[in-house]
Amino acid sequence: MVAILCPTCDVGVAVDNTVLPNEIVMCGECRSELEVVTTDPIRLALAPEIEEDWGE
């Protein structure tokens, strides 16, 4: 478990070391959805918004 600063609110987010690239984690402070953009070192960015549907 490491603490990474949330790019939205600057508060530390607890992230598991086994996190996957592109995995979504949530900031407990501001509830932002964050994407793991690199895992070594772990870096977070605001996740793209959800698209409403999938197509086939």
């Binding site: 996957l20 999938w54 086939e56």
Partner: protein
């Protein structure tokens, strides 16, 4: 004006659908046939050694993962195998049919989806670069011109993206969009079941009608049916008065649906 969606369920007999449609066309009905072909896409992918993958969204809905190789196989199978078979079957039944993908004449324009969320080993991850999209516009003029000349347009994915590439789109929703654009009176979505079932395990539990009110989902339906219900709702909201999900496995599946078989959506 009637829009019919058939296939990809392997159990639907496309020849029976085409024979049935030929009778309606001869009786003066204007018809657009929309098709998918998941079984053929998967079969061709196996022959070509292209792995097909699905992704599961956080809400449990599963969708085809359309990477570049998958898109190529999808285009080959739909435009080069499924569509010609339907066009030949209609021609054999005395009806002139013209096959089109969404790329032809800009028939289906789509916005490429930027990202997807999928669940991998219990974790939600962002997936980029999927060749799938959402339809943003339909070239109704091309279809009306073909219909006026007496042809049955036979339409399938892919659609044309803004960047000039092809993207996969959902064929049920294509049918709904075309029905709306053409102000069709009826949209028939054929499936491999007797209709929307109250109990998925009981083929005889067909709901004769189903109200798609508001945005609430319908419980107890499998994923393929859930997307059909989304398409049905879109058609209803766009003003298509008669929307039916019906059994594609019978001898005259479209006539049966128009006569009251299956589930009428309201």
């Amino acid at each position: 004006m009637l829009v019919v969606k058939c296939g990809g369920h392997a159990e639907v007999d496309p020849l029976a659908v085409c024979r049935d449609l030929s009778g309606l066309v001869r009786a003066g009905e204007q018809v657009v046939l929309v098709h998918g072909g998941s079984a053929e896409v998967d079969g061709l992918a196996r022959r070509l050694g292209v792995p097909m993958r699905r992704m599961v969204a956080p809400d449990g809905v599963s969708a085809r993962r359309t990477d570049a190789a998958t898109l190529e196989v999808l285009h080959l199978a739909l435009a080069g195998a499924v569509k010609p078979r339907l066009v030949r079957a209609l021609a054999g039944a005395g009806v002139s049919a013209v096959g089109l993908t969404g790329v032809d004449g800009g028939l289906l324009l789509a916005r490429r989806k930027g990202t997807h969320r999928a669940v991998v080993n219990g974790r939600t991850v962002i997936i980029r670069g999927d060749h799938s999209g959402r339809i943003t516009a339909v070239n109704g003029r091309l279809l009306r011109s073909l219909l006026a000349d007496g042809h049955v347009p036979v339409v399938s994915p892919p659609a044309l993206a803004e960047d000039g590439g092809a993207v996969n789109v959902d064929a049920d929703r294509v049918a709904a969009m075309l029905a709306a654009e053409l102000r069709a009176t009826r949209l028939v979505l054929l499936t491999g079941a007797s209709g929307v079932l109250a109990d998925p395990a009981d083929e005889r539990s067909v709901r004769p009608t189903l109200a798609l009110t508001g945005t609430a989902g319908v419980d107890g339906v499998r994923a393929g049916m859930a997307i059909k219900l989304v398409a049905a709702r879109e058609a209803l909201l766009a003003g298509v008065p008669g929307v039916v999900i019906a059994d594609g496995r019978s001898a005259q599946p479209v006539s049966a649906a128009l006569a009251g078989a299956g589930t009428r959506l309201t």
